[in-house]
Each structure stands twice: as structure tokens, then as C-alpha cells.
Chain length 115, copies 2
């Protein structure tokens, strides 16, 4: 339990701090990642996806975290130039200290250019 | 713990089954509900919001559920004519058998008209 949470906390701290590579080191080679509007992504695809978004992130205050054995859920507010209030939810599965699945949910419209 | 989960399960079963009023009965009068692209909603505003979406729902298979004392999280796939694969995440706070807060996250673009 603690192990899964520790892994996810380290992953989250790394990428939201701009270190996508350190975050990726915690993903299993066969990890499967999903996000709105895309097909399931491999680890390599997730690397590109995260690397594309991370530079826009200015902060990511946490709202909630829940742990249930090998699953961890995070809710946080990814802040960019266009939004500070759009909640994101991320559900992780961790096995043997490595993240094997990420399911990210957020509202793409909230991150579009200002109206 | 069980109490919060029982309340949320009943709420979820009710509205996804089309009975928005039965779901609303489980909300505290002062409940605060948030969803993508809107300001925080009161119970009355949430009633309208749910009633607007519920008729479009054809199914809502569950993906995960987590409970942590007075908080419960659900992940599910709300299915409509336009999507069957867009994940939704919903975070509830329950006090004394009544839901006091709902934070709903989903991708509005995934529920738009077919391209």
C-alpha cells in the first residue's frame, strides 16, 4: 500500500516539477496510459505526451489522494496560462514499485486558448 | 466507511438508472457540486445539470471505486450516442449519510456531436 503511494507521489512530483525523465523511470516498460481524446498510449508515447504538456504547467496544487492496495488516485489542479481551476483526476495501478497503468481524466476544453 | 460507500452507490445507481430525484434525495441541502466548465453548483443547480444529461445516458459501466473514510471516488464510462470510451471520475464527500460535495471530472469534447 505505502509502496504504491510512494511510487505515485515520486512520479507526480517529478513530472509536475518538470523532470519528465525521472517520472518515466517509474513506469513499467509495458505500462498502458490513457488520456482524453487519444487511444491508449505506450510508455514511449506517454513520454511525448507528458513532455508536451509539462512545460506549460506552472503549478499543480493537490486536492485529494486516495490509496487502495495497488491503486492510487490523485486529484489536482494543473495550472497553466489558460486555467487554474480545472480539476484533473489520475488513477494509477502499481505493481512491484512500478506504475503499470495510468488513467488520466481532465477537460480538454478548459485548457484551450482563452476565449 | 461503509456508510459513505453505500450512500454513493445508491446515488450513482439512481441517477444512472434515470431516477434523478432519488439521487438528489441523497444530497445535503447545502451540497456543493463542481463539473467541467461551470461554476460551483447548488443542489438545485445540480438537479438541472443531472436532469439534462441523464436522458442521454445509455449505460455507465464501472471501472473503479475507492473509499477513504468519508470520501468515495468512482470511475466509470458514461455511454451516450456519441461515446462509449470517455472515462469520468467523480469524487464525493459524505457526512452523516448525505453527500456534501461532488467533484465531477470528464472531457466535454468527448461528448460532443460526432465529428
Amino acid at each position: 500500500m505505502t509502496d504504491a503511494r510512494t511510487t505515485v507521489d515520486a512520479y507526480h512530483r517529478a513530472w509536475t516539477g518538470g523532470d519528465v525523465e525521472a517520472a518515466l523511470d517509474l513506469l513499467d516498460e509495458d505500462a498502458r496510459c490513457t488520456a482524453p481524446g487519444t487511444a491508449a498510449m505506450t510508455k514511449e508515447q506517454w513520454r511525448s505526451y507528458l513532455a508536451g504538456f509539462a512545460p506549460r504547467l506552472t503549478a499543480a496544487p493537490g486536492v485529494a489522494r486516495m490509496t487502495d492496495e495497488d491503486r492510487v488516485a490523485l486529484w489536482y489542479l494543473p495550472q497553466t496560462a489558460t486555467t487554474t481551476t480545472a480539476l484533473a483526476a489520475e488513477l494509477f495501478t502499481v505493481r512491484d514499485g512500478r506504475i503499470t497503468e495510468i488513467r488520466l481524466v481532465f477537460d480538454r476544453l478548459s485548457y484551450g486558448p482563452p476565449a
